[in-house]
Amino acid sequence: MKLRVLYFARLRERFGVAEESVELAGSTAADLIAQLQARGGVWEEELAPGRAFRVAMDQEIVALDAVLYDNAEVAIFPPVTGG
């Protein structure tokens, strides 16, 4: 499936990209993370198990086992620090 993937804050800066289109082989948020990690470098580092990041689908935080769908808007970002 094809996903619109957004990155924010520190992750946006480290990855050097704010938004991209990703062709996902798997079906869950965990599959997407694994596929991005496989790019190596900062991707492997920032998305490694134990690193604190959040995944949102259609603008709501989801768990890693969430099932994605074609054309979904997925965002990956650090824990929030507003207010």
């Binding site: 965002a75 929030v80 207010g83």
Partner: protein, 152 residues
Amino acid sequence: MKIVVQTEVFDLGAEVNAMSHGRTDIGAIASFVGLARDMNEGSGVQAMTLEHYPGMTEKALVMLVEEANTRWTLLDVTLIHRVGRLQPGDPIVLVAVASSHRGEAFAACEFIMDALKTRAPFWKKEETAEGERWVDARVSDDTAVARWEKIP
């Protein structure tokens, strides 16, 4: 209910007056203003930039306020969060809650602030003498929001 994300400064007095104007059923308005401080984690902050996730932010804020409305009997809520570059001393966030009774106004106002800190997609980047740094999420914010889980 008024929920806004904006770069401009807000006016607490005007917002609270707008809530109570022409009404005689409001007994209590609890409000909160969060300001940018010149110190964080022990080092000087010269300025900060607030980034957010447009679209999700507004959704998340509406959900927080709706949750507060189901937990407490509220008459009105105003929530304004600024984004962009801010100086120490600048106001960042405003939450004002009107209710008939003060206990509900206080609880809902504090709940919204605590929930906002962990659930709304805002990120702070600070400029210090040593350079820029993204602010890490605080364990104390998780602790603060977890308190509300225990309320029936």
